[in-house]
Every structure is written in C-alpha cells, then in structure tokens.
C-alpha cells in the first residue's frame, strides 16, 4: 500500500510537471503561470514528515531541472531546501487549515522566485528589480496561492498524516 501511494505521488508530480510546461501556458495571467510543482512540494511538506518531504522535494526538483532551468540542479536544491524548511516550520505552525497552507505557499513561492531572480539575473547585473518583484515574483506567488486551493486537497489525500508515518 505504501509503495502504491509513493507511485501515485510520483505520477502526480510528473503529471503536474507536464501540465506546467504545456497547457498551463495557455492560461497565463499578467504573463505568469503558477508553479504547480512548487505548490505541491509546499503542501506535501506541510502534511508529511520532514524526511518524506525532502524526498518529495528532491524528486520534484529533479523533474523541474529536467524540463527547464538554466543551472542544472538549482531547482533540485531549492525544492529540497523549501521542503526541509517548510517541513520544520509546518510542524510548529500548521494546523491542517487550507488557508494557512495557502499562506505558506505564497511565502515560499516568493522565496523560490526571489532566489531564481537573484541567482539567474541580479547576480549577472540585471537591474530590473521592480519588474522582477512586481511583474514576476508577486504575481506568481499569488497565482501559486490560488493553485494551492485546488492542489491542497489532492495532496492531502496522498499524504501520511503527521506522526503516523513510518519514516
């Protein structure tokens, strides 16, 4: 049963990646699309043990690195860190409320996209900080928060309630 759930979770992540790189580009709002994979990582980390969260984060990060990104492995690292930090903070602050999950998603999306901007652009002399923050980072974070409303219940079904997990 446990392997089955792991398999379904993996297929779910792959499905999100495919959706994100294909049909999601058809529903861009203000030129941005939600990062469904990141939303799934945050939601999953809030609902599972830190160890499982990290594994899921790494798996999703590898997927993102496979389909895009410039610096190989950066998405894996970022997703893993987010899964880790989110797992720890979630343990203390999360109370199975979907709106709290949305808040977490918005905050971590902001950090994720900010890290992307800093490492890919700002570090190399780009100065469009205002555009990056107001045109990319904040809209994506908000969009991710909306996506979390849909994804959280699905991830909840795939999760092991905290404390009952074997690992």
């Amino acid at each position: 049963m446990r392997y089955l759930i792991c398999g379904i979770t993996a297929v779910f992540a792959i499905l999100l990646t495919i959706i994100q790189t294909t049909i999601l580009h058809g529903i861009e709002i203000f030129g941005v699309i939600p990062n469904l994979v990141l939303v799934a990582v945050v939601c999953y980390s809030l609902l599972n043990s830190t160890f499982r969260s990290i594994l899921f984060g790494i798996f999703c990060g590898v997927l993102l690195d496979c389909v895009g990104g410039r610096i190989v492995g950066l998405n894996t690292l970022l997703c893993m860190y987010i899964a880790y930090v989110c797992g720890i903070t979630g343990e203390k602050l999360f109370n199975n409320n979907v709106f709290v999950a949305v808040l977490f998603v918005v905050c971590y999306s902001f950090l994720f996209e900010l890290a992307n901007y800093l490492l890919h652009f700002a570090l190399w002399g780009n100065t469009d900080v205002l555009f990056a923050v107001f045109g990319r980072i904040i809209p994506t974070s908000v969009y991710n928060g909306l996506a979390a409303l849909v994804l959280y219940p699905i991830v909840y079904k795939l999760s092991d309630p905290r404390g009952n997990a074997a690992i």
Binding site: V32, V67, G68, R70, N116, H120
Partner: protein, 284 residues
C-alpha cells in the same frame, strides 16, 4: 300489382318525354339555357363543394400527417446527423485550409532557401518557470540536430538550440536574457548586437545594443543576422526597429526591436542543421 307496374311505366315514359322536350327546346335555343342552368346550379354548389373539398383535404392531410409522423421523425434524425457530419467536415476543412496556408509558407521558405538543410520540428513544451524564454521541440540528435543549431520559422529568426537529447531539443529564443545575436541593419549595413532582456522579453521584444555612434538608425529599419559570431548564418530576418532610446547614463543609444516572430504563438519551427552553416564568416 298491375296497377303499380303501369304507374311505373307511366312515370318512365313521362320523364322520357320531358327529357326529350328539354333536349328539343335546348337544341332549338342553342346552349344558353342549359349553360345558365348549369351556371345557376354551379353558383349554389361551388361554395359547398369548396367547403367539402377543404374539409376533405384537411382530413386527408391530417391522416397523411399522422401516418407520415414516424417518417418525419426518422428523416429529422437523419438530417440532424447529416448536419453534425457536415459541420464536422466544415471544421476539419477549415483546419486543413489553415494548415495548407502554413505549409505553403514553409514551401515558399524552402524554395527561397534551397541550400539550407533543415529539420522541421514542433514546439511540445515551454519552460516551467516564469524567467526564461526557452521551449522544447520534438526533434533531437536522431534528426541530426546539434547544440547551437539555428532555429527559424517562416517569419524569421527564433533562436538557437541550447541543449539537445535524442528526440528533443531546448531552444533558447532571441528574447531570452541569455541570448545574443550578431545583427546588421539591412538598409545601412551597420552592425550591432541583438540582446534579449528580461523586461522587454515580457512584451516579446528585444534590444539592439552596441550601435556605433555614426550609424544612422531610424524607426522601421529592418534588422537581420550579420553572420558574425559563427552561430547564426547571415541574412535571417530578426525584426524591425520600433523605438530608439539612450541608456540612462547617456553614453550610448540602443533600439527596441519588434521581432518578426510572434513568440507567444510559435508552433512549428525549422532547425538549420550545422553542416549548412559551417561556412559562416567569422568566430565570436
């Protein structure tokens, strides 16, 4: 009985005589009498006839309608199915027409560039994030594509292959921040560099940098690849100048380029295989 027989015979004879008289009189006076009689009778009878005819027709119609009902239903269904079929056919024809127009453009493109060895590809995915203008196409090393091969479509330059697998290739479009293309003004032959930029990329535009001081550049100038740098072959259309600006320090000017390719709707692309561009003029 005899009495009755006789009476009957009498009536027959009387009527015969009467008719003979009428016939004789009418023959003597011409047909007018008979005609007017018929006319008179007809005038009285016609409305009644008409009424009966109408009622009869209605009754007949009603019964034939009732009997036709089943047939109508069947026919209606057949016709509806036919309409669906025709609508479907119409849609597919419209799609074919559009495809035909696209393919014709490609044919023209191939005819205009017979020396280029190209591989046709279709965009299958875009970047998962919001920062890069990179997309994936369905052709890779199996089709002879290599890293740095140039990607175009019928409108002009799309970008170059930045990463390639067996059956996929990632294409870095010219509006991406990391892209840099040696360019030349078609009118004045002044050279410059077309760079992608985060902010302009948002609008699907790019920037013309390193314009020499004595270059004459006006809005509307066409920019094409210069062939310098060795990656892009010369003469591929990049876009047109839509705005000329000075950088914040005021030392140099740059231009905003509207690429001829609509990057929001890139569907089909052609990858120019490296062997045809190997003779590009110089190294970067």
């Amino acid at each position: 009985m005899n009495r009755r027989k006789r009476l009957t015979l009498l009536i027959v004879l009387a009527i015969t005589v009467c008719i003979f008289i009428i016939m004789g009189v009418s023959a003597a006076l011409g047909q007018n009498t008979s005609a007017s009689g018929t006319n008179f009778l007809g005038s009285i009878l016609r409305p009644v006839q008409k009424l009966f005819t109408n009622v009869g027709t209605s009754v007949t119609d009603f019964f034939s309608f009732a009997s036709d009902m089943g047939r109508f239903k069947e026919e209606n269904e057949t016709l509806k199915a036919r309409v669906d079929e025709l609508e479907q056919e119409n849609r597919s024809l419209a799609a074919l027409q559009e495809e035909n127009a696209r393919l014709r453009e490609w044919l023209d493109f191939k005819e205009a560039n017979p020396s280029l060895d190209i591989a046709m590809g279709e965009v299958i995915a875009k970047d998962p994030g919001v920062w890069f203008n990179v997309f994936t196409i369905d052709k890779g090393t199996n089709d002879g594509i290599q890293k740095d091969d140039v990607v175009v479509n019928t409108r002009g330059l799309v970008g170059r292959v930045m990463d390639v697998g067996a059956n996929w290739a990632k294409v870095l479009s010219i509006i991406d921040e990391d892209s840099s293309v040696g360019a030349i003004n078609s009118r004045t032959r002044d050279i410059a560099i077309v760079d992608g930029e985060l902010l302009l990329g948002e609008e699907g535009r790019c920037k013309l940098n390193y314009i020499s001081k004595d270059a004459s550049l006006v809005v509307g100038d066409t920019i094409e690849t210069s062939g310098l740098g060795g990656v892009y072959p010369p003469g591929i259309l990049i876009g047109t100048v839509v705005e000329i600006k000075s950088d914040p320090q005021g030392f140099s000017q740059y231009a905003v380029i509207e690429p001829s390719v609509d990057f929001k709707h890139v569907q089909e692309v052609a990858v120019i295989r490296a062997n045809t561009t190997a003779d590009a003029s110089a190294d970067e």
